[in-house]
Every structure is written in structure tokens, then in C-alpha cells.
Amino acid sequence: MSERRQLGALVIPVVLLAVGVTLVTGILTMDEAGEGGLFGPKAFPWVIAVLCLVVAVLMAVQVLRPSTTPPTADPGDEADEILDGEPEAPEGTNWRGVAIVVGGVLLFILLLEPVGWLISATLLFAVVAVGMGARNHVVSLVAGLGLAAAIQLLFGGLLGIHIPPGILG
């Protein structure tokens, strides 16, 4: 495991820290309605906030400390063998793929209501497929259109779930 990837593990403590701080500010600015008693609406969030902050610190320490302890415990020597055979912890990360997939979902969210399900869903499918390594864009678009239409007919038509029609409606 590379040095950079280990530092990347700090993202979890950072998230916990952010959650903890959000909880604390939320508790301090909370408009408490009514009489809550000793255990009002703030007590439980306090416990969670403290838990978040404590775990964030412990985890950060664990990540930053030079690793002298053996990596995670095992259910047996042979289990490691099989896990090593799997691409469990690849050396590299395809950040381009991640960016394309996330961008595709964002695009879908922006387009869904103005443009409608059929077009935005087709694009979502095609963009995610590209992010996952599909080469043939025409096939991706056609497959996406087919699936999007099938979902619209099956769930919108038969089960009556509301689907934004957008510009095609």
C-alpha cells in the first residue's frame, strides 16, 4: 500500500470531525421547543458528537502512526491467500473513472427536471458506462435509452410512479 493511499485514509477522520463539529454547532444553535426534561432533544446528539470527535482523533492517530502493528487481523492464513488473489487493494486508483461517474450523476441531477427522465437517464447510463471503461459510445447510448424507456414504461406506466417528462412531455 502506497504512502499516499495511507494518508488518503485520513478522509474518514476528517468526515467524522466535520460531522462532530456540525452536530455541536447544531446543538448550540438549536431552538428547543417545549420542556425536554433532563434528556431533551439535545442529550443524544451530544453523545453522538462526542463519539464522532473521539473516534476521529483515534482514527487519525492510527493512520498517522508509522505502522508497526501487522495489518488487519485475519480469519486464518489461507484467507489471506485468497484475498491477495483478488484485486482487493489495488496499487492504483482510476480517478478519471471516479470523476466521470460522479460527473454523470451530477449532470443527471441537474438535467432531470428540466429535460425529463428519458434524455437525462440515457445520458447517465452512457456517462457511467464510459467511466467504467466502455469504449463504444453508440452502444452505450442505445442501451441506456432502452433501459430508461423500459423503466419508464414498467414503473411509470404500470405502477404509476411519477416520472418527470421534461421537454418530451
Binding site: I12, L16, V19, L23, G26, M30, D31, E32, A33, G34, G36, G37, F39, G40, P41, F44, P45, I48, L51, C52, V55, A56, Q62, T72, A73, D74, P75, G76, A79, I82, L83, P87, P90, E91, N94, W95, G97, V98, V101, V102, V105, L112, E113, A121, L124, F125, V128, A129, V130, M132, G133, A134, S140, L147, A148, I151, F155, L159, I163, P164
Partner: protein, 500 residues
């Protein structure tokens, strides 16, 4: 034997053409997601939840039951044939299973796995049928203090006993609990952490959380590995999966021992079947070492039989804990609990009274699902492996489409979609750095139960903390919890020492 009458009634309700069709769909879907690495029954049910809201509850729950067990039937197929277990629950049985396949005994390994899954599941479900009513009676005596103890028990067990690192388990738990407190506080009407955003007044929709964590997170995780994963090779199987009488005689004790490991773990919130499958595997290996002709390492049929039976036995009794206590003990059970809520039913002591008919029909559907799965898996197991040839890009593109559709369909809200993306990214980070996901789901579901029962207990007793440990049930739960944590600590110590 009131149970048998009830179960007979359940079979009468369950054996309709449409219900059987949904069980079959569930079994096929479940086996499929079991076979495909990265997909699991929790994700499959989560994706289907918003889409099935308008279905008949029994039909949908029967389908989910098929998915639930199907995942455990299918997960060993890819493990045995390609050494890529479809789920972590199949790692243990794939060790010897893949060796059997390499030695030319793939059909036998597949048959041992399928029959083992069947035996474990059936025995556990029979136990549930007989003990569910008395469990529900016991749970009927639960007051706020008992429910609080149950929730604490679940939190500590899932966070510390199961995951390799207690800190990572607690991290997941904290995230889940934080998500659970967003929204209007029920007893007082106070707005909590809503940032004045109307869509957050009712809290973060639990369907959004499950779909985001289990499906969107996995899609992003897979995208991050494109180009770096290596291809596994499929071992061709000749002939039909079958077992000779001698092989059955070898496997039978292992199937039963595995079931014995799985049954108790179903009711412990231990995140699923990983722990019991490895305990079963370890036991079979230890027994094998003492025998005259050790088979482990060469492809032992017992090494497949034990873990497979343990896995499905866990799933079976987990269903019992879910129905009678409202206690989800794994990610899949957590998603099933959400499914019950979607149909206005609350798993727990009152479920058998209020929705008795549907519960017994569901239990009957479990038996039907198991038979269907055995039929689906025994003769055609190698065919399922062909699923692995579906291009990954289209598979995951389709999953993201279903996820986005389901989340939007639930409330027609773009905010939910943004939350889905955010929590999905969190799910990606958690997968990448080995933070378990199940504690998040358990915390989101049981968080409100823990908080409100604690506040009830305190309000009823005039803030006397002694009320929390004043009944035999609470004392018993905390005692079991302490014993469990001690066992986990000991086990980890021993594991660390073994490394040196």
C-alpha cells in the same frame, strides 16, 4: 402446535400463482447478485424498495425473501469456479471449494455448497417457526429500558465484535447515528440539524441512505478500480452437480455442524454470516487435521459443506430476530426491516399479533424460496457463472440508473438525489478504507429506538439511571454483551500473537 396450523395457513396464502412468480423472480435475482462480485442481496433489495412500494406487500416481501437467501446460494458459485467469492460470506467456502474445482471436482463442490445452503436455511427457518411465538412473547414484556439495552447491545456488537478494527466499526456507527438524528424531534417538535431545509424536516430518507451507501458507493468504487483489477479465470465444469452416497456421508456432519454455528449468530448483530462461516471453516479444518487422511489443502468437501450451511443458517435465524424483536443483525436484514416499514408494518413483538397472516405467509414463502433455490442452483449452477461475462460497464451503468430512479421516485425530490450522491461518495471512501457499512444501516434504524426509549425510560422513572439495569432482561442483555466483547478481545489478541 399452534405454529403448525399457522404455518399451514401461511402456505395456503403463499401458494398462489402470482406469489410463486415473485418468489421465483426473487430467487433468480438473488442468485444473480450473489454470483456477481460486488453486488449483494442488500443492494438488490435496496434498489427494488422504492420500485415496489405499490406492490402487494406479501408479493414484495416474498420476492425479497428469495433475494435474501438467493444471495447466499449464489455467492459460492463464482468462488468455487473462479476463486472470486461473490460476497465476503463465501470466502470461507471458496477456499476448499476452489481447490476441489481445480482437482476436477467442481460439480461436487457446487452440489455440496447448494445442498449445504439448503440444509442450513431449512433447519434455521424451522427453528424460527417453532420459537418465534415464544420470542415474541418475551419481547412483549420489553419496556423502554429493555429496548434501550437491545439497541446498545446491537450497536456495540456490530461495531466492535465483528469488524477487524473496533475504531472503524465505531466510525461507521457514529456516522449512522448522526444521520439518524437529522429531522424534527418527535417528542418536542424541535428542529434538529435541518438547516431550515424543508426536505430535511422528516429526516434523511432511509431508502436514500441505503441506496446511496450500497449501490452508488459501489458503482464509484468499481469505477475507481477500472484498469487495475485483474481478470479471473473460469474453471470449466463437466457434468451435472451430484454427490455420491459416500460424499453425502462425509458432508452431512459438516453441514449439521455448520448449521450449529450459524443458528446462534443469526440473532447476534454481528453483521451477517462472515464470523460463523469462518468458525465453521476453522472447526472443519481442526477436525480434519486429526483424521487419518487429511483432506484440507487438497479440496475438502467438508470445508465447503460447513461454511455454506453456516451462512444460510445465520440468514434463517436472522429473519427470526428481525420478525420477533425488530432487531436487524446484518445489512440485508436492515434493508428488509425498511421494506416492512414501507408497507406500514413494524417488525417486533407486535408484528405476529397485528400482521400475523402476512408473517406466516412470509415464513411459508421462505420454505418455498429455499426449495426453488435448490432447484435453480443444483442442475444449472455452472450456467450462473456465465453471468460473470456481462460487461461490467453496462452492469454498473444500469445499477446507477436504477438507483437514481428509485431515489427520485420515492419523493420526487432533487435534494434526495444530491444526498444520494454525497452519501454515495462517503460509501466509496468507506469501502476504500475498509470501514464496514452494516453499522451505518443498523445505527440509522435503531438510533431513534435507542434515543426515544432512553428518554422514555428516564422520564418514566424521574431520571433514575438505575431503571436501565433493573430487570432480568436488561441485565441479561448487558451480561451477554460484556461476554461477547471479552470474547472478541481474546480472539483478536490470539490472532495478533499468531502473527508473530
Amino acid at each position: 402446535m399452534e405454529q403448525l396450523t399457522n404455518l399451514a395457513g401461511g402456505f395456503a396464502d403463499a401458494l398462489t400463482l402470482s406469489n410463486l412468480l415473485f418468489v421465483l423472480i426473487g430467487a433468480v435475482l438473488g442468485t444473480a447478485v450473489g454470483v456477481l462480485p460486488g453486488l449483494g442481496s442488500a443492494m438488490a433489495v435496496a434498489l427494488l424498495l422504492p420500485l415496489t412500494a405499490s406492490l402487494d406487500p406479501l408479493a414484495a416481501l416474498a420476492m425479497f425473501a428469495g433475494i435474501y437467501f438467493g444471495g447466499l446460494f449464489g455467492d459460492s458459485i463464482a468462488g468455487i469456479l473462479m476463486n472470486t467469492p461473490g460476497n465476503s460470506t463465501a470466502i470461507a467456502s471458496s477456499l476448499e471449494g476452489h481447490r476441489m474445482a481445480r482437482a476436477g471436482r467442481a460439480p461436487q463442490a457446487l452440489a455440496t455448497a447448494a445442498i449445504g445452503a439448503f440444509i442450513g436455511g431449512i433447519i434455521a427457518t424451522v427453528l424460527v417457526v417453532f420459537f418465534a411465538p415464544s420470542m415474541a412473547d418475551l419481547a412483549n414484556r420489553f419496556g423502554p429500558a429493555e429496548f434501550f439495552a437491545l439497541a446498545v447491545f446491537a450497536f456495540v456488537a456490530i461495531a466492535t465484535v465483528v469488524s477487524d478494527s473496533a475504531i472503524r466499526g465505531l466510525a461507521a456507527l457514529a456516522i449512522g447515528l448522526a444521520l439518524a438524528v437529522v429531522g424534527i424531534d418527535q417528542p418536542t417538535g424541535t428542529q434538529r440539524f435541518t438547516f431550515e431545509l424543508r426536505p430535511l424536516f422528516d429526516g434523511v430518507d432511509i431508502v436514500v441512505i441505503t441506496v446511496a451507501l450500497l449501490a452508488v458507493g459501489e458503482v464509484i468504487h468499481q469505477a475507481s478500480k477500472v484498469g487495475f483489477a485483474d481478470e479471473a479465470k473460469l474453471i470449466p465444469t463437466g457434468g451435472q452437480p451430484f454427490l455420491s452416497r459416500a460424499e453425502i456421508r462425509q458432508a452431512l456432519p459438516a453441514w449439521l455442524r455448520g448449521t450449529g454455528f450459524g443458528v446462534p449468530f443469526g440473532v447476534i448483530p454481528a453483521g451477517g454470516a462472515e464470523v460463523p462461516t469462518f468458525l465453521a471453516y476453522g472447526t472443519e479444518r481442526a477436525l480434519d487435521r486429526r483424521s487419518a487422511d487429511p483432506q484440507f489443502g487438497k479440496g475438502s468437501i467438508k470445508g465447503v459443506a460447513g461454511p455454506e450451511a453456516a451462512g444460510n443458517a445465520t440468514a434463517g435465524t436472522a429473519m427470526g430476530a428481525l420478525l420477533t424483536l425488530g432487531l436487524p443483525t446484518s445489512a440485508t436484514a436492515a434493508v428488509l426491516l425498511i421494506a416492512f416499514r414501507q408497507y406500514g408494518m413494524q417488525p417486533g413483538p407486535l408484528l405476529f399479533e397485528r400482521n400475523g397472516e402476512i408473517v406466516w405467509a412470509l415464513l411459508a414463502s421462505l420454505f418455498i424460496a429455499m426449495v426453488v433455490l435448490l432447484i435453480l442452483n443444483l442442475p444449472v449452477a455452472p450456467l450462473w457463472a456465465k453471468l460473470l461475462k456481462v460487461p461490467k460497464a453496462y452492469l454498473y451503468a444500469g445499477i446507477s440508473l436504477l438507483a437514481a430512479f428509485g431515489v427520485y421516485a420515492a419523493a420526487a425530490s432533487t435534494t434526495d438525489l444530491l444526498l444520494m450522491l454525497g452519501i454515495g461518495l462517503l460509501g466509496f471512501a468507506m469501502r476504500r478504507y475498509d470501514v464496514p457499512l452494516a453499522p451505518v444501516l443498523i445505527a440509522v434504524i435503531l438510533g431513534p429506538l435507542a434515543e426515544y426509549s432512553l428518554r422514555d425510560a428516564m422520564a418514566n422513572s424521574g431520571n433514575d439511571p438505575a431503571v436501565l439495569v433493573s430487570s432480568p432482561i436488561t441485565i441479561g442483555l448487558y451480561a451477554v454483551l460484556v461476554a461477547g466483547v471479552a470474547w472478541a478481545v481474546l480472539r483478536r489478541r490470539r490472532a495478533v500473537r499468531a502473527d508473530f
